[in-house]
Amino acid sequence: MKLELGNFYVKDIVFGDETSFNNGILTINKEEALSVVKEDEHITEADLVIVNPGDKVRLVPVKEAIEPRCRVSGGAVFPGVTGKLIQAGNGRTHALKDCSVLVVGKHWGGFQDGLIDMSGEGAKYTYFSQLKNIVLVADTDEDFEKREQQKKNHALRWAGMRLSEYIGNCVKDLEPEEVETYELEPVIKRSEEVAKLPSVVLVMQPQSQMEESGYNDLAYGWDCNHMVPTFMHPNEVLDGAMISGSFMPCSSKWSTYDFQNFPTIKRLFKEHGKTLNFLGVIMSNLNVALEQKERSAQFVAQIAKSLGADGAIVAEEGYGNPDADFIACIVALEDAGVKTVGLTNECTGRDGASQPLVTLDEKANAIVSCGNVSELIKLPPMETVIGELQSLARDGLSGGWEDDEILGPSVKEDGTIIMENNAMFCGDQVVGWSTKTMKEF
């Protein structure tokens, strides 16, 4: 499988007559773009706003981030989700770099939604403050979940994907500035030179804990709750096979943008043939019942062993009871003789004194940690808010609250906010961006 990712670096985004890309300038025809958004009649109101790093803008509730792309070799960017099912990870895909489509609720947020500050002290808490963003701010008639804490955000998330694909299409026929090539030989047909290196797999545990459909991460449109771990080519992940869900407390979440750019996968590719033999990805999941957790761990260990893996990285999209899946998987791999490193975040509480993961095991002796979900964050008011600031307090965002005996409400009258890291949009960047770690005090 050979994937060519053609990169177009966006220096500026403007609205104009024709959606096009020229010399680093991405021009968007707003009307046309909004008509793509409104193809779904559930979208009742929609607007597009361009925000740049350094802008005095606060975005909340942010629901999704997607990199604008098009599939040059034909077919939908997200097979099985926005179009027919085809194999991802092979052929040519073009991407607009340094920018993302952000989907923001005009009013209503939920447990899984987050906040982004484009400048100031708050900017460091999310990856997306350093990107140029095309922000879709919209509302829907999905009244059944308007007041629900858990939202599927279906109309908005799908509108974001359509929009990203519409924008991405403007570079379909252009020559990219740079082409990244990702290719792996079949596992058992690698040159001796590569085959003698330590073989490793990346085990991904995307969020899949809702039993009802519509909330979980999808693999080619298939709910990850309904699968047992399987072997995937890393190119598939980089090329739209995986989309983000709408369930996990936001700082732990992996957005679709994160899947499309998964830094740990890219890093393993870089090491492939030099220090490691990168076998591929074991796509696992996160479960609710102990037996499901154990079953997945058992499948992962067996696949890794059968593939001949010497080492593994296990990455978890979540915290709390998913830590049990994470630790079980690491223990199963270690027991199978696969040397394993974990990649996750922690929940040590606002005071930092709680046990970092809900289950622990001495066999998990190598872990990279990307942050504390419950770290308290206080930020001054921001000039412009896109979306609705009150959603942080009112709608049960995982890091916000309506009232607290000591701290008061999350949103103060002057626009100051106090929140837990939990509500920072994809803030812990467990996919590999994170420059945060955890230290003892």
């Binding site: 740990t264 890093r267 010497d310 394993t340 509480g349 993961l357 622990l360 190598a366 994170s434």
Partner: protein
């Protein structure tokens, strides 16, 4: 100028050696022994008083010693409290830890000590006190006092405190997120750690697995047929209007709900406010989390004496251990009052 007070044992307090180890606590205005050195090194505070207590007195009459010293401090103004350095002296280390912990709890001021890594006081009190890694013996007095003073100055000036490893005190089991100066992304860190692990090289985990803390097993219920059984749950089962406004994650509140006239919990009257899972099943039938119906059946059969009038609720997700422990203690008071004999905790 801010004010500091220092605690010393009989030896460093210049009372005497082992023969004076039963010396009862005293407080002296001014600087005795190492207090002078501490005062010299401290820039943001002056040392106003020295407290001296014999190590054996603190060891054998701890409550009396602590009470006496806390009484000394009642009418004193001070912004920070120091004890030691205690070097490798075990009893002295214990004394420094005990008094620092008590002073911190009572007056809420920062407390700083210094001990050698093998001093048993380190393991006993590292969670409660900033204990700096000090020398083996009094030969390191100046250096250890300087370390304590430098850190004290830093706290008093409100400067940002660095992680334990960088400051030089023993980690207190408190973990916070920090941004790496190297800006090295997790993707690099994880792959490098894996390569090292595969090559059998040394690596350093970013999450050392802490040792488990255990509680003695309570003695069992003797006669179940006469016992009052209570249900506690962390699954967020509350009356539909959530009267105690228990948070759906990171809870700091709990509630107790009267079920003395109920055979079972009805959907529509009770629901779950837990945000960590699909609520549909528990909303439809709250007994799947608070099994009142099953307990009533056992009550009728005479297997248990009676079901406690109330059940207790909070939410487990993201709740800190400190909050959970506090809520646990509060619930315990109610259980005691109601003469509950045994508890079933259902967690989600």
């Amino acid at each position: 100028m801010k004010k500091a007070i220092l605690y010393l044992n009989q030896f460093f307090g210049q009372i005497g050696g082992e023969d004076k180890a039963d010396f009862a606590p005293v407080i002296e205005e001014g600087l005795i022994g190492p207090a002078a050195e501490l005062n010299k090194k401290l820039e943001n505070a002056e040392v106003t008083h020295t407290i001296i207590c014999g190590d054996n007195f603190m060891g054998s009459k701890q409550d009396e010693a602590v009470e006496t010293i806390l009484n000394f401090l009642e009418d004193k103004e001070f912004d920070i409290f120091f004890a030691g350095p205690a070097f490798q002296a075990g009893r002295y280390g214990n004394a420094c830890g005990v008094i620092c912990k008590a002073v911190k709890e009572k007056f809420g001021v920062p407390v700083v000590s210094s001990m050698h890594i093998e001093n048993p006081g380190v393991e006993m009190f590292r969670k409660d006190v900033y204990i700096f890694q000090g020398g083996h013996s009094a030969a390191k007095m100046r250096k250890d006092v300087k370390t304590m003073a430098t850190f004290g100055d830093k706290i008093l000036s409100g400067e940002k405190l660095l992680p334990a490893e960088e400051e030089g005190y023993f980690p207190r089991g408190i973990r916070h997120q920090v941004w790496l100066e190297s800006k090295k992304p997790a993707s690099d860190r994880v792959v490098e750690m894996l390569v090292k692990k595969l090559n059998g090289e040394e690596f350093e985990t970013e999450l050392p697995i802490p040792k488990a803390d255990r509680v003695p097993i309570a003695s069992p219920v003797k006669d179940l047929s006469k016992a009052t059984i209570a249900i506690v749950n962390t699954g967020g089962i509350v009356p539909v209007d959530n009267p105690d406004r228990i948070q759906s994650a990171s809870a700091t509140r709990w509630g107790k709900y009267d079920v003395s006239n109920m055979e079972r919990l009805k959907g529509g009257e009770f629901k779950t406010i837990h945000a960590g899972f699909d609520p549909a099943a528990a909303d439809a039938n709250p007994n799947v989390i608070v099994p009142l119906d099953a307990l009533r059946a056992y009550e009728k059969e005479g297997k248990i004496g009676k079901v406690h009038e109330y059940f207790y609720t909070t939410v487990g997700t993201g709740t800190t251990q400190a909050e959970a422990a506090r809520m646990g203690k509060e619930i315990v008071e109610h259980l005691k009052e109601a003469n509950v004999d045994g508890v079933i905790m259902v967690s989600t």
